[in-house]
Structure formats: structure tokens, C-alpha cells
Amino acid sequence: MLGSNLNKIKLGIINLKLNNLFSIYQACHNIGYKTEIIDHKVKKYNHDILILPGVGSFNSAMSYLNKNGVRNRILDFVHKKNKILFSVCLGMQLLFEESAEFGSTKGLGLIKGKVKKLKKQKNIKIPHIGWADIRINSNKKNFINKKFNKRKYYFIHSYYCSPRYENEVCSFTSFGKTEFCSAVRKNNILGTQFHPEKSGALGLKMLSDLKKLL
């Protein structure tokens, strides 16, 4: 099996040309995956794990995906079995149908639901920056190990995903009175609102657990 031999697992990080890929690259590389950054010139994704990273704005990310044909390559990729699409932060938001960021922008539509702005609340600061607990949803297809329940991961965002189907939610996180979906899974499409690559040893463990899903 692939799972036992990490350096045979090909992991590609999609370069959206928006921001820092250094951390996610280093994290995957240090774990031992055969890691590369892929730009729009790569026409076919023959990787085992594809990472859709994310800091930046929803509409500039979508226009990059649409303009360069990257969108169709991602759609082709997720149709294959035994492949994992793992998306982080903005990357997770891109999976949904639409986002309220800058009016309304259409997303990849791989998961039903919308991306909404975090509501203003008294004494609660936005952007949400910091470490917060994840509460694991009882979901048969959860990719997050139960031992991570109520552990803290690093968040930095102003928008959150609101999936239509609760059985696709893998974890919830509280932000003041708002409870939002902090991890999602539909078949081989996975996402986290938090940054596992910035969440210390616990985050690295989550990334290295992806191999078990192949």
C-alpha cells in the first residue's frame, strides 16, 4: 500500500499566485510526501493528493482557477478514485457554490452550501485570528481522528462555510455565538477552515494522516 511509503505519495500544491505557499510546502515536505508546487502550465494532475491552499480573496482565486483551466483539471482529478483533494482556509471556501465576499462570487460548487461573512458581535474581533477548539461531528466518513476532539488549531479568516448537509461537516468551531463548520468532507473532497500547516505538531499529524485515506 501507498500509505506505508510516504515518499512514493505524490502531493501537488496548486499555486493560485496569491500568497505564501512556503509553509504548506515545508509542512508536506517535512512529513515526507513527494511534494511539488504546480502552476497553470501543468496540464494533468497525476498526483495522489492535491492541495488547494488559501490565503487571499475569493474572487481573485476563482478568476485564476477559471481563466487558466485549473478548474477543469481539479474537477477531473476528483472524479478519480483513490485520490484526495485537500483544501485549506480559502481553499475550503472555494469548494462551495458561492461566497458573499465582494458581493457574490460563484465557487467550484463541489460541495453544496454558501460562504458567509462572520457576523459582528460585541467584544469579538474580526478577522478571527488565533487558536480555537474543533468539535468533531459524529460523521461516518470523518477524516479527523477522534483524539483531536476539542484540541486547538490555528484560524485566520473573516468568512466561513455553511454547508447545506450536516453529514458533510467533520468539525464545528465556535466564534462568539456563531458556530461554524471548520472541516468538511464529501467523498474524496476534504477541507479545513483552520491551517493544519500552522497548527504545530497536531496539524502536521493531521496532514500526515491523509495518507491513510488513499
Binding site: N20, F22, S23, A27, V55, K125, I129, W131, I156, K198
Partner: protein, 280 residues
Amino acid sequence: MKKNFIRIIPKLDIKNGQLIKGINLEGLRILGDPFKFAQYYYKSLADEICYIDNVATLYGTNNLSSFVSRTARNIFIPLSVGGGIRTIEDIERMLKSGADKVCINSAAVNNINFLKKATRKFGSSTITVIIEYVKIGKKYFISKSTGRDLENINPLDWAKRVEDCGAGEIFLTSINNEGIKMGFDTKIIKEISKNVNIPVIAHGGAGNLQHIYEVIKNSNISGVALSGFLHYDIAHIFKYKRSNIGNFSYLENLKKKIKPANNLLKIKKFLKKKGLNVRI
């Protein structure tokens, strides 16, 4: 009452590749290799690391990117970097080197449009504004170039202004309290953190655990940045490399047997016991 999450952030001031620490941002002592300190803090559960190049604006340079890369290759928590950031290209270079957030001070004071442009391009959550302020008599000023130049602007007015211009976070240093270890300037920290809607990180003055607790309890901050409070305790652990310039007398006269008293975990356990939301 459920308190918001509090980040504990080691702040490392760097000059010519060495970790330094001063008093009121002056009288700089060399404490050693910043990377070793950062690694130590990562292992002891820092929530974030902040690197500031202290003389970058003064000398018109910024040399931190190789440090940033070395750190980001080994440390998997957020990394904020500042000092001498003047252009969009400077920000791009820092992000490419592995910074998660970029801190701006002088360049925003000199040209507020630069701040607007930066936050539009990189997103609010990538841009932190450093506000260093000083009280002279009864009047408050903000300062540029790490305390070297004063501007006749009130820190609260400036905080609101940078929020309006899209800053994602404010890193607030009281120069009067910095390095003195007599506690934080709770009055101004409270005023600013209650009057802006973006996160505020308080820095300057931690001398004991109670100081840290007090400033969190009495304000609406999202985190506390610590420098001397942490660095002095562990400076003796690491070997240091001499360079031609700088004040090495602190390291040369350092007693070998200091027991680290103020380590991060101890701070966090103390705060947790007081009912605060911290990561342990």
C-alpha cells in the same frame, strides 16, 4: 464570563542577525541567535512568532528574508515579520520567504495609501500595523523607526485610522513601559482595544505573571507579546557567535545557572488557572 482566546507571542527584535533587547527600545544588548530562541519557543507552545528587524528603517535595509525562510522551514506556527517594509515588493518577498503576516509601521505613517494598497492586495488578515507610542508629559505621540522619530498623532486616533484603511491587526507597544518590567500601560491598551474591531496585541512592560493577567483582564486584547520577559531567562542555554559590532557584555557576564522562570508553559498554565482561554 467566557473570555476570548488569548495568543502568547514571543517577539524577537533582530539587528545584524542577532537577537537584541533594549530598554524603552534603546540600549540594545545582544542575546544570541534568534533562530535558536524561536525554535525553543515553538517547542514550548508559542502561539505565534514575531520577528522585527530593528534597524531596517534607520538604515534603509531589510535583511530578514533568509532568517524568515530558515524559521519557516522548521517552525509550524504563524510567523509575523516586520521592519523596513516599504513597498508592495517588500511584502511579497517576506510572504514568499515564509512569513504569514507582515508588520508595517513607518511606511504607513509616511503614506497611508501604502497601507490601503497593501491590505487590498494581500487581504486584511495579512497586514498588521505596529503602533509604538510614547507619553511625554501629558501628551501622547506615535513613533516611527523603532522609537527614533515622533509624530504628533494620538495613538487612539491612529488605531482607528489604520482600521479604516484595512489593517487586520494592531501590534501596540508602549515605549515608556517597554523593557522596564513594571507592568503594561493598561489605560491606553484598554482604550484602544475597546475602540477598534480588529485584534490588538499588547506589548511592553511584562515583569511578572500578574502583569500579563491584569492587562488581559482589563482590556479587550487578543494577545500579549513578550520579549525580554522570555529571552533573558533562556539566553544562557544557547551558544552565541561573536560579531564585530554590538554589545556582548550581557552574554559575556551571564551566569550559567539561571533557572528559566518565565517559560511559556508556566505563563499559560497560570492564565488558564485564572480562567482565561489559552492553548496548552
